[in-house]
């Protein structure tokens, strides 16, 4: 700010004339409005508010005015400069936002590009199927029992009321370990776990036993020498076949949905008496494809029911072999194939798909069936 210039004739200071100031402000505002970005605005700021700008020069003249005129001119100049500065601030804010938006816009990338730098894993659907079926029973209060895969013949056969010359013994094509006389086989069923559970656990016993079993079948679309079963066993006072039916119906509902129940057909297993085959109502057609040639069901072959497994009341002879009094305790047992369940629940048509370990098959199931 310059010092008062007493020798000056104030009347002659044209720069402070309202019209001149108004023009300068008008030019400044127009330039501010015209600035397209922050760089241009910086130039505008210099040109219109810098030391050599018209407004600054005019402002400097105020000191030369007579005292009476100073106040008015000062007010005028103050307003003029404020309006210019405000416009600058406003414009700068707007342009900064615009710039930020532009930067973000320019940083846009194609998010449809692949994101899979690493690999996606998966759990085998047989594993997760066993876990899922087990879960139904864990929630009811059952526990999971386990046993060895190379098993004593006594557990696999004798203790289950399948004596050395029982016809059922030759029906299950058995792998013998070492020799046919070693007394050790690859378990042909998960049922030996029943006997282990009864020997190891205090009564009552409620267990479910998923596991790997072996039969000497060649691998083809419908057979595999190594497969999986899940076995259930309940031994308590007052266990009835109605409890067995109720338990199987509950499992069917949990696995296949509301309204899906089971049907029992008389059958024979040495370790249960009475024994039954388990059929489950077809969860797809719910039996409506039976006799309906127009809409056949591939899941159940239009039978309405799907064979699922075997079950029965624990043979009192099995309880006796475990040292349990069959006059006090009774029980039920059931078992089903895990492969079979996966096949009809998920439309697996070839057993080999579950065996070969093609990662495309497993990944389709993720970590849960």
């Amino acid at each position: 700010m310059s010092a008062p210039n007493r020798s000056y004739d104030p009347v002659g200071v044209a720069a402070l004339e309202p019209q001149a100031v108004g023009e300068a402000v008008g030019q400044a505002l127009a330039a501010i409005e015209a600035a397209r970005d922050l760089t241009e605005l910086k130039d505008v700021r210099r040109d219109h508010t810098g030391d050599k700008s018209a407004l600054s020069l005019a402002n400097r003249e105020i000191g030369a005015l007579p005292p009476a005129a100073k106040a008015e001119a000062g007010k005028r100049m103050g307003e003029a400069r404020r309006s210019v500065n405000e416009a600058l601030e406003r414009r700068e804010g707007d342009l900064a936002v615009e710039r930020d938006l532009r930067v973000l816009r320019e940083e846009t990338i194609d998010v449809s590009m692949p994101t899979d730098r690493g690999h996606t894993g998966g759990r085998h659907p047989l594993t997760t199927m066993m876990e899922r079926m087990s879960e139904v029973f864990l929630l009811m209060g059952y526990e999971i029992a386990e046993g060895p895969e190379a098993e004593a013949e006594w557990f696999n056969f004798d203790a289950l009321n399948i004596g050395p010359d029982h016809p059922a013994r030759t029906m299950q094509d058995t792998f013998f370990v070492d020799s046919a006389e070693s007394g050790v086989v690859l378990r042909t069923q998960t049922s030996p776990i029943q006997m282990r559970a009864l020997l190891e656990r205090p009564l009552p016993v409620y267990v479910v036993a998923p596991g790997r079993v072996y039969r000497t079948d060649e691998l083809d679309a419908t057979h595999t020498p190594v497969f999986h079963q899940i076995e259930g066993l309940a031994v308590d006072e007052g266990i009835t076949m109605a409890h067995l039916k109720g338990t199987l119906d509950h499992l069917a509902t949990m696995m296949f949905g509301e309204g899906i129940s089971t049907r029992l057909r008389p059958s024979y297993f040495p370790f249960t008496e009475p024994s039954a085959e388990i059929d489950v109502l077809c969860f797809l057609c719910r039996g409506e494809s039976v006799g309906n040639l127009g809409s056949p069901c591939r899941t159940c072959g239009s039978e309405g029911w799907i064979e699922w497994g075997g079950c029965g009341m624990v043979n009192p002879r099995v309880l006796e072999a475990a040292g349990i009094d069959p006059d006090v305790y009774s029980g039920f047992a059931f078992g089903m194939g895990v492969e079979r369940t996966l096949m009809f629940r998920h439309g697996v048509t070839d057993m080999r798909d579950m065996v070969e370990g093609d990662v495309r098959f497993t990944r389709a199931f993720g970590i849960e069936v």
Binding site: H124, T127, E143, D165, V177, D178, M241, S261, Y268
Partner: protein, 837 residues
């Protein structure tokens, strides 16, 4: 067991509208597994007529023999017709089956008069296959009897339905038409006409010859043995058409009248029969034990060496047959046999089973004896057979001899409430008695519902009924299992998964999350798999368990490592186009135990009571050691190439990180140590240790092994003993104490050392950590240099160190003090000097 509905009708008078499908449904509900119902000649429409061949003209100008035949169908069917026929198994005057124009044969085959081989063929002479009667297409059907112009549809039994039933081992009685018919009668609530137990009306024995003498060594192997003899039998007599039809429908071939009759009666009644040629027998025919090392050629022309455990039929000349299994060649009836001695017996099921198994023979007879033949049926069945032989083959009946031990029916005492207690629904004692009676039992104490126990006499054809529970099944199945209510038992809370089970599941999820795909491989391996691993003789993995009957001679043993199985799966995935394969498996491996090597005594505790602890321990000792392993195989890129740039290949460090990561997730800190372990690269494998126990290995696979496996170089793997890992994890569970989270500022220092290149980085890090004391928060290797700037044989290791005090900001003085201590420890323990000093 294949059974025709018409045959069933001889025992039970079924209403004509009842079809095979309905019978099948009722039988399934009663517990017989009906696998299929088929109609003989299904699809046939229009008549078939019996015709007689009048004239045959051989047409020789064609590639195959063709006959131009004149066949007389009788005046009602247009008299004599000319028919072209490609078969040549018939002669003039033979009776044949003619399909006339307009008839549709099975398979929608429309018969029309058409010109072929230069003649108008006015119909067709039918073969079995064309009528869907059988597979025989070698020639046309030649009828043994019949009348020209008769309807052949009925004569051939077309329209009859055949039920194919899979018989469970307990239901031996269902291996007969009689047994199945009884179930049909019960399920339709119709009377059962047990004509098998009506003694056939035989003529009084003629005294022209003597009945054949018989005897039994031991009632423990044979409780009833009977012989009936016929002489003067006509060996050229043919089997009647109706019997051939029944046999064919049951899936048996017609052989000769005598053989057909024994088969027919067996199918009908369930009693196996055997016919000897009397002229080939020497002295008393007896059932007994075989003398050791004697030989017998059975009718299948196989010479068999007998053991004293075999039960046989023999005479003065030696063994005549395997009792209840198969007859012998030397006494077999043949096309000249006129003197027939018919054996019907009851052999002990267990002994027949043993004999059949020893000789690997499963026959129609052994199947029935193993499951238990009706104990009293033999003389009835043999009388029925004798009657048929006499009727169709002539001759004189010369009598019957028998040996029998006393028979007592099985007696079961059952609480009358047992069925309802088992079922969980009300079943009155009256209903129980009624259903058991329907099965054929005699029920005492059944008068009224007041009796609390029944004494039940089991019928002779139900040897499977032994315990009260067996009777319960009969009661429940006759009511139908659909009657059962459905409700859940009240269970008093379980403990959920065990810690091991929970952690095993967690590891499965963790590995999947880490990008590995779980596979389940067969646990079989062989010498080639072992050799490929390049392991030495002393290696544990050589101590595999061998199977007595492996599926493949190439893989006769159980795996001792998961890696070969994973390699095979990886190879399969690669052959199907996968570039990167990251797979894992959890599964058992099997090792012989020392106990095994010494040889063991097989123990079979009695099953009438709980085995003793010693017995249970002995059973466990039989078993191989079978821990669970956890393994992974990594091939290709860990990070893929993409728009983000070049990918990075899998490496030993990733394998180690996965293995150690698994352990760490369940609280076990595994430390790597340099080891040599096949099939890994000798310089790029870490043994993973918990204290001094090695839980597994991780690293890059040996190049030669990868070459052998057909997998790309630099593939990596890891394998852990999951059983031991879970043990270790369970041991440290609940021990984790919450750390104190210090909030004072961290001081970051870098330390670069120069030292002998052979010293493990982990040892140096440990020295720095130990030397620095409590203030050392972490020591992390961030750079390794080996090259001209350090002396030969040495390398530079650079560590970033974080120091922090719990309660105050470390001063510059404190920091340099700690740093000096760290350097001193590294110098002392590892010979390290500060780089640049």
């Amino acid at each position: 067991m294949r059974v025709s509905v018409q045959w069933l009708a001889s025992y039970v008078d079924l209403p004509p509208e009842v079809r095979g499908r309905e019978i099948a449904e009722r039988l399934i509900a009663a517990g017989l597994e009906v696998e299929s119902v088929e109609t003989l000649g299904a699809g046939l429409q229009g008549p078939l007529t019996v015709g007689k061949v009048v004239r045959i003209e051989e047409l020789t100008e064609f590639k195959k023999p063709i006959r131009w035949c004149q066949v007389d169908l009788g005046s009602e069917h247009g008299g004599t017709r000319g028919i072209v026929c490609g078969a040549s198994n018939f002669i003039v005057d033979d009776l044949v089956v003619i399909a006339t124009p307009g008839t549709i044969l099975p398979g929608d085959f429309h018969i029309a008069a058409r010109t072929t081989y230069g003649h108008v063929s006015d119909g067709m002479i039918c073969s079995e296959r064309e009528l869907a009667l059988g597979e025989d297409h070698a020639g046309i059907i030649v009828l043994p009897d019949g009348t020209v112009g008769d309807d052949a549809v009925e004569l051939l039994g077309l329209g009859d339905e055949i039920l194919d039933i899979a018989v469970t081992p307990d239901r031996g009685y269902a291996l007969s038409v009689r047994g199945i018919a009884r179930e049909v009668a019960t399920s339709f609530d119709l009377p059962f006409n047990d004509h098998a137990m009506a003694l056939a009306d035989l003529p009084a024995p003629e005294a022209t010859d003597a009945p054949w003498p018989c005897d039994v060594d031991d009632a423990a192997i044979c409780e009833m043995f009977t012989l009936r003899r016929i002489t003067g039998f006509d060996p050229s007599a043919t089997t009647p058409a109706w019997m051939r039809r029944r046999l064919t429908a049951a899936g048996m071939r017609s052989i000769s009248l005598a053989v057909d009759v024994t088969n027919f009666v067996m199918l009908d009644t369930g009693q196996p029969l055997h016919a000897f040629d009397g002229s080939k027998l020497r002295g008393t025919v007896r059932a007994g034990y075989a003398a050791s090392d004697t030989r017998l050629t059975t009718i299948d022309h196989v010479e068999r060496v007998l053991s004293p455990d075999d039960i046989v039929i023999r005479d003065d000349s030696g063994p005549l047959g395997l009792a209840g299994v198969m007859g012998g060649f030397s006494s077999e009836i043949d096309s000249t046999t006129t003197d027939i001695v018919l054996e019907a017996a009851w052999f002990t099921p267990r002994r027949v089973a043993q004999t059949a198994r020893r000789h690997r023979l499963a026959t129609e007879a052994s199947r029935r004896f193993e499951r238990g033949v009706d104990r009293v049926l033999a003389p009835y069945a043999s009388a029925k057979a004798m009657q048929l032989l006499l009727h169709y083959g002539g001759g004189s009946y010369v009598g019957f001899t028998a040996w029998e031990s006393p028979y007592e029916p099985t007696r079961i005492v059952m609480a009358s409430s047992l069925p309802e207690r088992t079922a969980g629904m009300a079943i009155s004692a009256g209903v129980v008695a009624e259903r058991l009676t329907a099965v054929g039992c005699e029920v005492a104490g059944s008068q009224g519902d007041g009796a609390d126990h029944f004494t039940v006499l089991v019928p002779s054809w139900r040897p499977d009924l032994i315990d009260p529970a067996d009777l319960v099944e009969e009661v429940l199945r006759l009511g139908g299992y659909d009657e059962l209510p459905s409700h859940l038992p009240a269970i008093s809370g379980g403990r959920g998964l065990t810690e091991r089970q929970r952690k095993r599941r967690r590891l499965g999820l963790w590995l999947a999350g880490a990008g590995l795909t779980e596979v389940l491989t067969y646990p079989f391996m062989g010498p080639a798999d072992i050799a490929a691993l390049r392991i030495d003789e002393e290696d544990d993995r050589q101590r595999g368990v061998t199977l007595a009957n492996p599926l493949s001679d190439e893989q006769p043993q159980l795996r001792t490592t998961l890696l070969p199985g994973l390699a095979a799966v990886a190879r399969r995935n690669r052959s199907r186009g996968a570039d990167d394969v990251l797979i894992s498996e959890m599964g058992r491996v099997f090792f012989t135990t020392k106990y095994h090597d010494l040889g063991t005594t097989v123990i079979r505790p009695a099953t009438t009571s709980r085995p003793s602890e010693d017995e249970l321990a002995a059973l466990e000792e039989l078993l191989p050691h079978q821990p669970e392993h956890l393994a992974g195989l990594l091939i290709g890129q860990r990070v893929r190439s993409g728009w983000w740039g070049e990918g990075s290949p899998v490496d030993w460090a990733q394998a180690a990180a996965l293995a150690r990561g698994c352990a760490l997730e369940i609280g076990v800190h595994l430390q790597p140590r340099a080891v040599h372990y096949a099939p890994f690269h000798p310089g790029r494998v870490a043994g993973l240790y918990l204290d001094d126990i090695c839980l597994g290995y991780a690293g890059e696979l040996h190049p030669a092994v990868l070459l052998h496996w057909g997998l790309p170089p630099r593939s990596c793997a890891f394998e852990l003993d999951l059983t031991v890992l879970l043990d270790a994890s369970v041991a440290v569970s609940h021990q984790t104490q919450a750390p104190i989270i210090a909030t004072a500022p961290v001081a970051k220092e870098d330390i670069a050392l120069v030292l002998d290149a052979g010293i493990a980085a982990s040892d140096v890090a440990a020295a720095l950590t130990d030397g620095g004391g409590d203030m050392v928060e972490s020591v992390r290797l961030f750079d390794v240099y080996q090259g001209p700037q350090v002396p030969a044989g040495q390398r530079s290791l650079a560590f970033s160190v974080r120091l922090r005090a719990e309660d105050h900001t470390l001063t510059g003085e404190e920091i340099s003090q700690i740093r000096e201590l760290m350097l001193a420890a590294a110098a002392q323990r590892c010979g390290a000097v500060l780089r640049g000093s």
